[in-house]
């Protein structure tokens, strides 16, 4: 079964109190399954980080895979061993 | 700091929540004058020492010193609400009430030369507009009793539960 690591940044880290979590997916599991797993495991993420319903990320949070690419379609599949960064980036100041 | 002795409601500000945005002053001045001018607001924000921020409006003191101080009997206190009413025909802008107020909650309108005091928007259905607008929920309509209850509860939680 594929395993991914979700790294928490910003709000996600504050809410969960964790830097990262390992999630096991079923064969064929998608990024949306990652969102569902996070919502189930950390209900407090629902609101500011995950949209009510637990199916979508709340803007402007996003998944970045291995610091290389951003996930645009949650129904695609991560690779085993992917590190998924849950973050938002803000400019200014 | 002087405290209100009132049984009446008044608008209070929690300085830990207030961020100093002044939206209360904008909305107050608009409701009362039809213009946006924080100089004409009946609630005033205060900033000191860079990080101390709060807002002050009439505390509806019992036996209100401003009423007592007025040499022309222009000020009166509503016995039910504690709100201070200003009789514009009598008030001549002498500012004795301003001096008498420990909270700095009274100002004199430079054009009409009459005293202006928070009336908690008593004529509006949804109550004080500053409370409605405050984005940080720092303002609330409360009484000294309710404030005391909350302080006791907060203290108990801190002392007993250590948080």
């Amino acid at each position: 079964m594929p395993k991914v690591v979700v790294e928490f940044y910003g709000t996600a880290r504050q809410v969960t109190g964790q830097k990262e979590v390992t999630i096991e997916l079923k064969e064929g599991g998608t990024f949306r399954d990652v969102v569902r797993a996070l919502a189930a495991r950390y209900p407090k993420l629902v609101g500011d980080v995950i949209q009510p319903g637990g199916e979508e990320l709340q803007m402007p949070n996003m998944f970045n895979v291995n610091a290389r690419r951003v996930v645009h379609d949650l129904d695609t599949q991560p690779q085993d061993g992917d590190r998924i960064l849950l973050m938002f980036v803000t400019a200014g100041g | 700091m002087p405290t209100s002795t009132s049984k009446y409601q008044y608008i209070t500000c929690d300085p830990t929540k207030c961020v100093g945005c002044q939206l209360c002053e904008y909305i107050c001045s608009y409701v009362k004058t039809g213009e946006f001018n924080t100089y004409r607001s009946r609630i005033r924000t205060v900033r000191a020492e860079e990080i101390l921020i709060t807002a002050v409006a009439c505390r509806t003191c019992e036996d209100a010193p401003c009423v007592i101080a007025c040499p022309r009997d222009a000020l009166s206190q509503d016995p039910n609400t504690g709100i201070i009413h200003v009789d514009a025909n009598r008030c001549d802008g002498c500012a004795w009430c301003v001096e008498a107020c420990d909270f700095g909650a009274i100002s004199i309108n430079p054009e009409t030369k009459t005293a202006e005091i928070c009336d908690m928007c008593e004529d509006l259905e949804d109550g004080p507009q500053c409370v409605k607008w405050c984005p940080k929920e720092a303002l609330e309509l409360t009484t000294p009793d309710r404030r005391a209850q909350r302080s006791r509860r907060k203290l108990a939680v801190e002392e007993v539960l250590g948080r």
């Binding site: 910003g10 200014g92 | 002044q22 939206l23 946006f36 921020i53």
Partner: protein, 628 residues
Amino acid sequence: MYGYSGKILHVDLTTRKTWVESKPEEWYKIYIGGVSMASRLCWENIEVGCDPLSPGNPICIANGMFAGTPVPVGGKYGLASKSPLTGFIGDSLSSSWFTIALKRAGWDGIVIHGASDDWVYVFIDDDRVEFRDASQLLGLGTFQTEETIREELGDDQVRSATIGPAGEKLVRVASVTNDSRQAGRTGHGAVWGSKKLKALSVRGTHGVSVADPDALLQLSYDITQAAQGPHTQKYRILGTMANVLNLNRLGILPTRNYQQGVFEYAELISGEYLHEHYHVKTIACAQCPIACEQMSQVKDGPYAGAMTGIDYEPLYAVGSNCGVKDLRAAIKTIDICDRGGMDAMSTGVTISWAMETFERGIFTKEDFKCAKYPEGFEPNFGNAEAVVTLAEMIRDREGIGDLLAEGSKRASAQVDAERGTETWKWAMHIKGLETPGYDARGLKTFALGLAVGTRGACHNRTAAYDPDIKGEVDRFSVDETRGKLAKSTEEYAAVYDTLPLCKFIRRCFTGKADRAGAWPAIAKLINATTGWDFDYDAVDLIGERAFTIKKAFNIREGWTREDDHLPWRWMHEPMKEGPSAGYVVSEEELEYMKDLYYEAKGWTKDGLIPKEKLIALGMDDVAEEIGV
């Protein structure tokens, strides 16, 4: 006219005369306010080709239509002069009470001409102007100057924009400060110092009227409420400091003068760490319901007592970029900059240039002698006390601080001329303005946005990091979309900078920050305020016009295509490690993207503006002067 008074105040410091200029409504519809109107006033009033520190360079201030109304985050103003760092347009923004006071005093803008023989501050008391002796204010820090003036004038409601000791000494990275916010970049403090203008103080007592107050209130109320939700969560809790860990993870956190993009101690200087250990209070600018400024205080160690608002940009500059892992020292350095009246970004990046120059053996301990360390000190990366001390030396122009006060471009040129070295290769600036907190080798669209920026390397005037970071394009490569993206993102930013509204509100109109999400709502705000009839297209034009007047200014001051460059390091030294390892922005990539950009803008291959283009934008008089 609603939203404007129609009046610009002119003040001549040489003759001590003042006069009032009336502007027609059509002029306001084109230049609007903020950076656009300030830049236009600079275009109209400068002696072309003048030395930025000479009397011919005007100080131009422009309010916005929303100042003094409940429109959230509308309390901002634009400040423009010719920049002593770049020699091109220096357009800055600052927030809070100063601009609101100016609005209530009845002025849409101020132009300050000439130079005073003695130190003065100018007090604008509604429609009365007073020149006041500033000798007792000399040497005072920015915040203290504001307080002292309030005491002197006996009114808490007097709001001042001031310079600190750095501006007095013509430090080229000096800023202008009001209400503890800065018009930080491009060296305005030195321009004020050259005119012996210590402060501009304002008391405004009039009310502000708008065309449709009920509509404006309802719109403002809804935005205010939306600004408490997830759309601004990132600003309210950690503020911009949340970027430290994010950008570090993406391999673009400037580290040790941009030699690296990953800082091994990033956790120790993160927003999360700051929040837990040093945060004392979150505060807002006037008229802002978001409140993003994280006031932070050092409680122990040699820098105990230092306190100021900490944002990401100053922090990367004096933190990771100088190899500093102690937030206490970083807070102290930023505190020195804020009180001394200096741009912490340019200060930090100039210090990091000096540190690298030392580590490469060009500077020696001897070069760093000062009153505090008579034998000198060794500013290796990570030496926090060295960074603190160098900030003080720049502020006071003490020892090597006198050289560094010139900014990295001039300092490196001087060292290279004297010693035959090539330190310019690690001077991190564009057009003379030091680079912001993103390593552009891992953000190719942003690299273009920075290179073509009219005020030099600025992350606020282009939002081109957005498509890179959000993954709308591949951030590591270049393709034909980048010219249009650079145009689109810089003009998007310019709409906010011109109204001006703080960009942090951009998601609060409809939940979507793009043009479709924001422009219709902004048009409603404009119309309720002014009674105009703006639509999506009219809002969109605000940004293009703003960028055009700034570019026109630069062309008239001698800009050529070669001025749109990147620091040598970004173009020749591949990133060493992390997710951006191996990347540079090559000469070929940059020139290709510049071609695309000029084409997207409708300019010539040389980056000049055709006459027809200017006329179509309603800028006929500009077309006459610089159109091709």
